[in-house]
Symmetry: C2
Subunit: 115 residues, 2 copies
DNA sequence: GTGATGCGTAACTCATGTGTTACGCATTAG
DNA sequence: CTAATGCGTAACACATGAGTTACGCATCAC
């Protein structure tokens, strides 16, 4: 019943830059500098983003000389996945309803956002 | 490659009150008043949260007289689920690594948050 | 030792977000 | 018609967040 804590990471994932960092780290360990070089913002800004990700448990750091190697920790994502689970039924249901409509011969338009 | 857009809803889900609203709506349609009554904040505050959820596609509204019935739309959650997919391998890998450790006879502590 | 490099933190500014109260508008009750 | 109800919006206050530059502190190169 600790759903609130289980999805603390959502706050961290709300920022697009941080999601991109996560995406980069999914490819393997990177140093702070390597990561910062990929973004149009200043290095301290990335440093702060990395701190947020660290504090929410999404990444871990390994000091190596004067370099800091960041790595993705998938645990919070796994928990998010778990949090999502009760909702899976809902879209399954919806798909079922859709299939029913199709079975009835109705025209089933797939909803697609215009923008 | 439109991952950024696919997870727009993360911004909406970052707020705990909105997540709770989502949770309530998972149980079925509710009116704005019914929802607002459940929270310690003012009704206009909830109204604004509902607006955010509406704009991110997480809920839909149906006007019925002077009542507004809100319902959960699971589509953005489904997309979030999709976004999560590439990362599933990561925690699967980690579990594999863990099993390997166990097979080696090492002590494998399950990580558990103290709070 | 001395200077360059890698990276985090501090201090500050500006934009955004979340809460409040006051209000308006439509709908139902009498 | 008149009053009450349900709910959204406007206007404002305050907290939070993300960016910047300046700085400090290790570590590596020489």
């Amino acid at each position: 019943m600790c759903y609130a804590l289980a999805v603390e990471a959502l706050q961290a994932l709300a920022d697009p830059t941080r999601r991109e960092l996560i995406g980069l780290l999914a490819g393997g360990e990177r140093t702070a500098g390597e990561l910062a070089a990929r973004f149009p913002v200043s290095r301290p800004a990335i440093s702060r983003h990395l701190r947020v990700l660290r504090e929410s448990g999404l990444v871990s750091v390994r000091a190596d000389g004067r370099e800091r190697h960041y790595a993705l920790d998938p645990e919070p994502l796994r928990r998010l996945d778990e949090w999502l689970e009760p909702y899976r039924d809902l879209w399954a249901q919806r798909l079922d309803a859709l299939e029913t409509e199709i079975a009835r011969g109705r025209r089933a338009r797939t909803r697609r956002e215009p923008t």
